[in-house]
Symmetry: C2
Subunit: 261 residues, 2 copies
């Protein structure tokens, strides 16, 4: 995990103050406790698990202070490793690329759907429409333009790439994701901006058809994958800043994601 | 430039609302006019000017929707191209690397020092202590933990790498930066968090000793280079979000930088 910093600082207060004022009646300790700032981003390094083994990031030291007066690394990275965005163009022909996502799409309210208990029993579980309705009964309506984020507890496996991928003997992946029905419901009934997960993919690992990717990017919306610390932000009332690197022609790319509340 | 979005949206209002409430008596149209959200980040592509020619970013298409069902690029990039951070480790042995910068250091108040008129006459000009005192007479004291950002108008040259580098016949670079005296003054008298520029380097192009880099990183503070649109945010009262990619062992790296006010 990156260093986290939930201490109330003056900057966080300035940045997140109005969001706190706008949020209402927080229901549990996980939702309450005032203003905060939390990093939802994993460090990006060569050991970060790739969806497809062999696609891990590679780094080399280009210069050193000793020899050159300054230190610098070079990276070879695909756009879909580490904490990253899936732009509409990732799965939809003619979809928008990274540089075409507007700043106002990158600073949005977040809600967290917790399926960790079920995921611990069944790695193939998905977020369902029933989960979303249960969330709304407890926390209120999911706002327009939200990032709807699945917390499955999968981050506990991040240190072991095969465990994080959930690879079985046949090579099939097993980790939780969003069901396509839930994605469609959120697109049609709640006008969301993004789906995010604490796993390698917004589709569950067993998916062969990537229906959730196709529905989301087909609706001109973007995904967020490999998010960290979703259990450390309020279930409602946080704002996420999605610091997507604006790669030219980007199918998505690395993003620094912070939450404030 | 990236797409910009200064429209007041509900998200921007939530995110930036308190910052507006906290800012006082804005002095000119550049400072006033309410809430906003502005992208300070350039698109990152192969034509983005490198400090050293030959170090430009390289991309290749790895998969396509037609052949593979999804589209993805791979990048080979140094940590110091495009809009990026210089971490303390870039110039200071034992300095902190990218993953060690805390979230609270990445969400900070910004002030803009405008030297564009002087830079148009003299590309070797630097921000001086007198410039900082003149800023404070007009806009008030620079707050603690600020990002102090030089606007020199240099972004107008971004489409021509040699013009942006200001390379002369002898191969010497010419573009504005921060004088080391001004950097020292800000570190000692104003406890700043960061220096940022709309050029390739926080030192002026003609520098051979990188005194400003050495002073800033030696004080455990970070730099921001190749910032865009610094003429489109208030001279005071904005908050910058520095979305630095947390590269392991990073000497800095690509960052999505947004301003809200």
């Amino acid at each position: 995990m990156c260093t986290v910093d939930a201490t109330l600082t003056r900057r966080a207060a300035i940045f997140g103050g109005a969001a706190v004022a706008a949020s209402v009646a927080l229901a549990t300790p996980a939702e309450a406790s005032g203003r905060g700032l939390r990093d939802l981003t994993y460090p990006l390094g060569p050991s970060f698990p790739a969806f497809s083994p062999g696609e891990e990031a590679v780094r080399r030291t280009v210069t050193t202070i000793e020899d050159d007066g300054y230190y610098m690394q070079e990276w070879r990275i695909i756009e879909h490793i580490g904490t990253h965005v899936d732009a509409p163009a990732h799965f939809t022909a003619g979809g928008r690329v990274s540089t075409e996502l507007r700043p106002s799409e990158l600073v949005i309210p977040a809600v967290v759907i917790d399926v960790a208990a079920r995921a611990a029993r069944n790695p193939d579980t998905v977020v369902t429409v029933d989960d979303l309705k249960a969330y709304e009964r407890r926390y209120g309506r999911i706002p327009d333009d939200a990032a709807v984020l699945m917390y499955s507890g999968w981050g506990a496996k991040i240190g072991d790439a095969n465990a994080y991928r959930g690879t079985d003997a046949a090579g099939t992946l097993h980790f939780p994701g969003f069901g396509a029905d839930a994605c469609e419901w959120l697109l049609r009934k709640r006008r969301i901006r993004s789906l995010g997960v604490d796993t390698l993919s917004i589709d569950p690992g067993i998916s062969e058809t990537f229906d959730t990717h196709l529905a989301l990017t087909g609706a001109d919306r973007y995904g967020l994958e490999n998010l960290a610390s979703l259990d450390r932000i309020p279930r409602k009332g946080a704002t996420v800043f999605v610091g997507l690197i604006p790669y030219e022609g980007g199918s998505g790319g690395q993003a620094r994601v912070l939450a404030t509340w």
